[in-house]
């Protein structure tokens, strides 16, 4: 009563028309019949796919540069930024003659993302100073074993002849954002 918002609930006796229930039943049947003929919201999944938003965050890709060398330098910033601790990597030194394979002197010989731990937040992509890791609109396929969800370089690195388009996630604005020293992870 202090707030004056309480309402008195009255248990009203039903009128004869309401007691007969038939008007209510007919109204209900009209509703179900209307839904019988409305357009269905279901889509047939494997054949039809619902369109993802442009910046959908799905399976990761490790990018190569123009000549096909891996961009990742195993700096570990992505692993550090990862709130779910899904990323692990082992750094190695580039040998002479491997310039076409790895962009810089240091590279990741092992790079693994545990897709069961990953929460697809996109922090790895924001943290990466080398434009090496991006999230794509691909869905993680199902697997029967836990081990199958630990994706190594064989899955993550994009094939030389079959590049993954990440232009939507690599706009001018994003690049500007990454250069801004006001944000802690860009220092």
């Amino acid at each position: 009563m202090l707030t004056n918002r309480s309402k008195i609930v009255a248990k009203k006796e039903l009128s004869l028309a309401e007691k007969l229930y038939f008007p209510a039943i007919l109204a209900g049947m009209a509703i179900t019949l209307k839904h019988f003929f409305t357009k269905k919201v279901t889509i047939n999944y494997p054949e039809q796919k619902r369109e993802h938003s442009k910046v959908y965050r799905g399976q990761h890709v490790l990018k190569r540069d123009e000549i096909g060398a891996e961009r990742c330098t195993a700096c570990g910033l992505c692993a550090l930024a990862c709130p779910a601790e899904a990323i692990t990597m082992t750094a190695s030194e580039r040998k002479p003659g491997e310039e076409k394979l790895y962009r810089e002197e240091k590279y990741a010989s092992v790079y693994e993302i545990n897709m069961l731990r990953c929460i697809f937040c996109g922090d790895c992509e924001e943290a990466c100073p080398k434009e090496a890791i991006f999230l794509t609109d691909r869905i993680i396929p199902s697997n029967y074993e836990r081990g199958g969800f630990v994706f190594g370089k064989d899955i993550l690195v994009e094939p030389v002849n079959d590049r993954v388009d990440v232009s939507l996630r690599q706009t001018e604005e994003v690049r500007e954002f990454k250069k801004n020293k006001n944000y802690a992870h860009n220092i």
Partner: protein, 348 residues
């Protein structure tokens, strides 16, 4: 009683049996489709085009499942339960007139397996046995949920059978016969019984829902309270029999409703366009099935519209509303039949 007559009857029995199984089979598919459509979904559409092989897939699944008979159950009764359910469900179709008759080479071939002159009594007898299948199954399972489901089923079916019978008595008073063939034949043209017995039809319809244990009266098997009701312990094809019997019952109930109140195979104005009697009979069967399918759809429509009754509401509706109403209906029918005499008595 010639041999050819016997063979004809045998073939007819076989056809009716196969058709009722077939319709029941596709009722399961239709139910899933109707449910889905009313909930803005698509329903089964993977097995075959539009999912029409879904009932077959379900049947195969049922057969493949492990068959479990509980250790503490009464094994004989446990198997008898679903068998009895199935048997009674299949027996009722015998007296239903599917059409008038075909005349081939001057010989009449009636499209009804047998015209018992106490057809309605036979129907009630067989339907009443149907409750045993459920009761025995629930009792033999030796499980609280099953027993509760069986008790609910039996009390529900017994109480609604009274109102159903009283509704039918008014119909019998109107038609003056217990033979289903006669009842169907009397309703030619627009003289459908539903126009003379609207209240009786309503009572009969509500009781038919209760007798077939369909929503909103599906208390014997309500999943939310009783796990599965009387068939909690059943698995494999024995469970399949119970579920299947329910769909056959739905088919037969639809057939009975159309025969009793909606003119059976009669269709008004049809005789004006079609003159060949054989053609007329065939079209009659078609219309009979159209009516049946409409009522099967109606059963499903109600199921996906109305929520389940509470148990005391169910009993109140049965004993305190439907039975007095059907008694009033009998009195009204009597007054209607004797209206000439009554007017005569007062006016002289």
């Amino acid at each position: 009683m010639t041999v050819s007559y016997l063979i004809y009857k045998l073939i007819l029995v076989l056809i009716v049996f196969v058709i009722s199984l077939f319709v029941a089979m596709y009722s399961t598919y239709a139910e899933r489709k109707v449910a889905a459509f009313m909930q803005d979904r698509l329903g089964p559409n993977r097995a075959g085009p539009f999912g029409i092989l879904q009932p077959l897939a379900d049947g195969i699944k049922m057969f493949m499942k492990e068959e479990i008979i509980p250790n503490v159950s009464n094994k004989f009764l446990f198997i008898l339960g679903p068998s009895l359910s199935m048997l009674t469900a299949c027996m009722t179709s015998v007296v239903i007139p599917w059409g008038t008759q075909l005349t081939i080479n001057g010989k009449p071939y009636p499209l009804q397996i047998t015209d018992v002159n106490i057809g309605i009594l036979y129907l009630f007898g067989v339907v009443s046995i149907g409750v045993y299948g459920i009761m025995i199954g629930g009792w033999a399972s030796n499980n609280k949920y099953s027993l509760l489901g069986a008790l609910r089923a039996s009390s529900q079916m017994i109480s609604y059978e009274v109102a159903m019978g009283l509704a039918i008595i008014a119909l019998v008073m109107m038609t003056g016969t217990l033979s289903l063939k006669e009842i169907a034949a009397q309703q030619n043209g627009w003289r459908w019984n539903v126009f003379y017995q609207p209240l009786g039809f309503l009572i009969f319809l509500i009781c038919a829902f209760a007798e077939t244990n369909r929503a909103p009266f599906d208390l014997p098997e309500c999943e939310t309270e009783l796990v599965g009701g009387y068939h909690t312990e059943y698995s494999s094809m024995k469970l399949g029999f119970y579920l299947f019997a329910e769909y056959i019952n739905m088919f037969i109930s639809s057939a009975i409703i159309s025969t009793f109140y909606f003119g059976g195979y009669n269709m008004p104005c049809l005789g004006r366009f079609v003159h060949d009697p054989n053609m007329l009979a065939t079209l009659g069967v078609v219309f009979m099935f159209a009516k049946i399918f409409f009522f099967i759809f109606f059963f499903m429509w109600i199921r996906w519209t109305l929520p389940r009754f509470r148990y005391d509401q169910l009993m109140n509706l049965g004993w305190k509303i439907l039975i007095p109403l059907s008694l009033i209906n009998i009195v009204l029918t009597g007054v209607f039949i004797l209206r000439q005499d009554i007017i005569h008595y007062f006016i002289k």
